[in-house]
């Protein structure tokens, strides 16, 4: 089999990038497919990652650069895998490379094309906290630093109007408004699914006011609000872009009851948020409303202890599922039962909901394409659960990172390394047997 050396990795987050680099280093040709126009995954949305509060960009950017510059990795951004046929050692894969309208080789990322675009839209990558154009890069520092055209909203492509302002502004003739999707077929010996996860749908709990009360935030929204390359350039203000919150409540375990599992990362990011808030707004009062503290493993609890009392007040509630948020004057009122099960309330300017990690909504479709089973929680299932093996129900197809279940960065990387190891094992045994 000539194609045994090739590998398909789906998802260019920390797990996918790590696995790709390892296998590319072992001389495999890697097709790294990412549905977004940029690589980096969720980690690059965080200014700093727990427990060391390490700068995520500093940590991930060199990895992103390595991926893009590695001659053995073909990175296909803005692309989706449509078919994986065949069997371990000989899969044929169909990839749809969506029309980007901008040439990755000609564009140098100067950004001259954004200004003239007359369309203004919410930037989803920035959690809708800022506007973007129809031609855009999701955030500053995007890699690859090449924009994409949102074809649906582009006046010309989506609206049929005669607009080519972006193309006119481009000095490099890098914009091709007649671009179309491209279908790529490749043969690979193994597949790694590293498509990540999503956050729990907060609007499904109306009592918490997400989506109706502007002062209520999802965790990723807050991450971007704090980020120095984010929509407010790191200034923590409420949605009116002016008011700086004087008091913030962080509500733990949102979605734990519904999902029937603990995501194991929410306590830590909640404490991180408390530290961020106190760091940026020294006079702010932060309250963490919790019923269990889950800080497993070395160095997590010590971070919690350093935050507890110093950056945040800890408020215990006997039933986290009974916490509610309502409007109160210009602010918010958080109601919760305390340790003695008597009702308490608290007035704050801002509420952050520590939402559970849940399976990515696209994972069901991916599972179908990849022919793998999902577990009851909707994540991709490993066949030998608990053995550390990352093999899915389909031989030759592996999973890594939060696509397999909620976890922190460390465990995502460990799984990526495990999956890469298993793929390398197959590759060498195939190579030696053929």
């Amino acid at each position: 089999m000539s194609q045994t050396g090739n590998i398909l990795v789906i998802g260019a987050g920390i797990a996918g990038m790590k696995a790709s680099l390892m296998l590319a280093g072992a001389s495999s040709k890697v097709y790294l497919v990412e549905k977004l126009p940029i690589i980096g995954g969720k980690v690059i949305k965080n200014e700093e990652s727990f427990p060391n509060l390490e700068c995520s960009t500093c940590m991930v950017a060199p990895i992103q650069q390595d991926v893009l510059q590695n001659p053995n990795i073909e990175t296909l951004t803005y692309s989706v895998v449509e078919k994986i046929e065949g069997s371990a050692g000989d899969f044929s894969v169909v990839i749809r490379k969506r029309a980007r309208y901008i040439s990755l080789t000609d564009c140098i990322g100067c950004g001259m094309c954004y200004e003239p675009c007359p369309v203004s839209l919410k930037n989803e990558w920035e959690e809708n906290l800022i506007d973007r154009k129809a031609i855009y890069v999701p955030c500053s520092g995007s890699l690859p630093n090449v924009p994409v055209i949102d074809s649906e909203h582009c006046l010309r492509i989506g609206g049929g109007e005669d607009c080519s302002l972006c193309a006119e502004a481009c000095a490099f003739e890098a914009i091709n408004l007649d671009d179309s999707d491209e279908i790529i077929e490749v043969n690979v010996g193994a597949v790694i699914l590293a498509t990540g996860s999503a956050t729990f749908d907060l609007s499904s709990i109306p009592d918490l006011g997400y989506g109706t009360l502007p002062g209520v935030y999802a965790p990723m929204e807050f991450e971007r609000l704090f980020a120095s390359n984010g929509p407010t350039l790191g200034e923590i203000t409420l949605r009116d872009s002016e008011k700086i919150p004087e008091s913030v409540a962080i509500i733990h375990c949102v979605g734990r009851r519904e999902q029937k599992y603990c995501s194991a990362v929410c306590c830590m990011y909640s404490f991180k948020f408390a530290r961020f808030l106190k760091h940026k707004i020294p006079s702010v009062r932060v309250f963490n409303i919790y019923s269990d503290i889950c800080v497993p493993g070395k160095s997590y609890q010590s971070f919690y202890r350093s935050v507890e009392g110093a950056d945040t007040e800890m408020l215990y509630t006997s039933s986290i599922g009974d916490v509610s948020v309502s409007e109160s004057g210009s602010g918010l009122k958080v109601s919760y039962p305390d340790a003695a099960v008597s009702p308490q309330s608290l007035n704050v300017d801002m509420v952050i909901l520590a939402a559970a990690l849940v399976a990515d909504p696209d994972v069901a479709q991916l599972a179908e394409v990849a022919g793998v089973d999902l577990d009851p929680q909707g994540f991709i299932k490993t066949v030998l659960d608990g053995s550390g093996s990352m093999e899915t129900s389909r031989e030759g197809v592996f999973v890594a990172g939060t696509a397999e279940g909620p976890k922190d960065i460390q465990n995502s990387v460990v799984q990526a390394e495990s999956a890469a190891g298993q793929v390398a094992e197959i590759m060498t045994s195939q190579a030696s047997s053929s």
């Binding site: 427990p51 490099f172 010590s302 659960d385 550390g388 460390q410």
Partner: protein, 572 residues
């Protein structure tokens, strides 16, 4: 024509310098903000170097495919000795132009990219000022490149074999993942059997005993795994790809010498001793037990019974023993305590089982079931703030602040998992630092959790931090992943090229550099009284350089002479 001596080359080769200076227009991005023609004229007429020939040109897009071809052609036809590219950030295209150099006779370390886009044209609005600035940067680049030296990759032969320290689940998992016909594994275990702690847990999880048993069988039956029981690792020297190891067998006190390319430390963990805290009045001889001893009882035929052999009528399960003392949550105790509670209930539904917990920590997606099962089985769950024991009498403070007392027939403690007693020994032997909790410290918590400061030494299982059987196996597989993708039989390793070297004439052997090196890349050569860099290990960060008062070190490609020239031009 005078000859230019390459000061930094350390070779006595002399050659006449011909420097190519190519400025990328980057469309309007550079050309629009910087007067390139003026720069070309100025630089061409530069009389700083009478003995150096300068060829200065501009081009539309040097990073484009035709741009790279053009550059390659220019280098070849002009026979440049050095090359300066005025373009964008090295983070974008340093490797691009190095790649072009590699296709020619020009050593890629005799080229320099100068960032006149991010540092000039994009951030200085005034064209005059931007032009002056860009010219200054380019002059700096020329001055620097003339002091750069040729550097070469030095591929290293490697040994693909692996030493695994510890024959518990993590060690066995790593061994099975790694062994193959072209990779031998040496599995060293200090006791007389494989399996580690997991043996004691066997029989608890359905099929687990069988799984562990099978694992031991397949390790022992694997011709590519050599198992050393009752053996300790006596000495280790070397680095990734080339370790030399001495093993000492307890039985015949003979030293066995082996070689390996990597070392996986799976030295395991142990339980916090409840005697270290007086709140549990633990003696080990009454009806207060650790979770592990109860696990063993359940694994036996009689189940968990009192010392008298009688069934307990009430059992207290106490979580978080040692959590505050160690200042970490072990992350596995809640889960197995729920499991033990259910076992008691299964043993006899009449046993009154009470769990005293502080927080419920069930970080695995399937763990929550355990909690529901325990609840369904009728286990009483009491959340506490504080707790103390006198024998089997439990005094506790509820979360609400109410204080209470209860007596039980039997008390089970869930002690924290702590590093095994050997950890310090191995840390010293392998020059791997320990963290504040006494576990091995990973080289990077997030991006490389199984790697250590000594590249080629990997830490897995409970030696890395508190973790259960499945995470231990997961970490073991991760280390296998790194080894399988980095140490490939028959292939060579290419270490960092721009590393540090030490001048014997200047080095006094004071050890500053050796002390500050994170990678253990510097060792002391006592016979010569100097420090020496192991170039296979050095990453070229230059921390050692900053520590040396003698100027005995030289971090290649970032030497002081090179930087001084940049400074000179910046201050011109």
């Amino acid at each position: 024509m005078k000859e230019f001596e390459m000061q930094e080359s350390g070779q006595d080769r002399k050659l006449r310098a011909k420097v190519g200076v190519y400025i990328c227009e980057c469309g309007p991005n550079i050309a629009g903000k910087v007067d390139l023609d003026r720069i070309i004229t100025d630089i061409s007429e530069l009389d700083d170097y009478q003995d150096v020939e300068l060829v200065v040109k501009k081009y539309g897009f040097l990073c484009s495919a035709p741009g790279k071809e053009y550059l390659e052609e220019e280098i070849n036809s002009n026979g440049f000795t050095h090359l300066v590219i005025g373009a964008c950030s090295p983070r974008d295209h340093d490797s691009t132009f190095m790649g072009v150099c590699k296709k020619t006779d020009l050593n890629p370390y005799l080229y320099r990219i100068i960032n006149i886009r991010e540092h000039c044209s994009w951030v200085i609005d005034d064209k005059e000022k931007a032009t002056v600035k860009a010219e200054s940067y380019i002059r700096g680049g020329i001055a620097r490149v003339l002091r750069q030296s040729e550097l070469f990759e030095k591929p290293l032969d490697i040994n693909p074999d692996v030493l695994i320290i510890g024959g518990g689940v993590a060690g066995m998992e790593a061994a099975l993942s790694l062994s193959s016909d072209d990779r031998r594994v040496f599995l060293v275990e200090k006791t007389d059997r494989l399996g580690g702690v997991s043996i004691d847990l066997s029989g608890i999880l359905p099929g687990q005993g069988e799984v562990i048993g099978k694992k031991i069988e397949s390790v022992l039956g694997n011709g590519n795994i050599r198992v050393f029981l009752n053996t300790r690792v006596e000495n280790v020297i070397g680095f990734l790809g080339n370790f030399e190891i001495e093993l000492l067998s307890e039985e015949n006190t003979e030293i066995t010498e082996i070689m390996s390319g990597a070392i996986v430390v799976a030295a395991g963990g142990t339980l916090f001793d409840p005697r270290e805290s007086d709140r549990y009045s633990y003696s080990g001889s009454d009806e207060v037990y650790t979770s592990l001893s109860i696990e063993k009882m359940f694994a036996g035929d009689d189940g968990a019974v009192l010392r008298s052999g009688k069934q307990p009528s009430s059992v207290a399960l106490i979580h978080c023993v040692g959590r505050e003392e160690k200042n970490y949550c072990s992350g596995i105790c809640c889960s197995y305590m729920m499991k033990l509670a259910c076992f008691f209930k299964k043993q006899s539904a009449d046993i009154q089982v009470t769990e005293f917990y502080r927080d419920i920590c069930l970080p695995k997606k399937n763990d929550q079931e355990r909690f529901s099962e325990a609840q369904a089985a009728g286990v009483a769950l009491i959340r506490i703030k504080d707790i103390s024991l006198k024998g089997t009498n439990v005094s506790f403070e509820r979360i609400s602040g109410d204080k209470d007392k209860q007596s039980f027939d039997m008390v089970v403690l869930a002690p924290a998992l702590e590093p095994s007693a050997d950890t310090e020994y191995f840390a010293d032997l392998l020059t791997v630092p320990l963290d504040e909790f006494g576990f091995f410290q990973e080289v990077h918590k997030m991006t490389n959790p199984v790697g250590t400061a000594t590249d080629g030494v990997f830490i897995v299982g409970a030696a890395h931090g508190p973790k259960g059987v499945s995470d231990s196996m997961q970490f073991a597989r991760a280390s296998a992943g790194q080894i399988l993708t980095r140490l490939i039989p028959g292939e060579k390793l290419i270490p960092e090229v721009a590393v540090t070297e030490i001048s014997e004439a200047y080095c006094t052997g004071c050890g500053n550099c050796l002390e500050v090196c994170v990678y253990g890349a510097i060792y002391s050569d006592d016979s010569r009284g100097i420090s020496v860099v192991n170039e296979a290990v050095c990453r070229g960060c230059g921390n050692c350089f900053g520590s040396c008062p003698s100027g005995a070190l030289r971090t290649k490609h970032f030497t002081n002479t090179q930087l001084y020239r940049e400074v000179d031009e910046a201050l011109r």
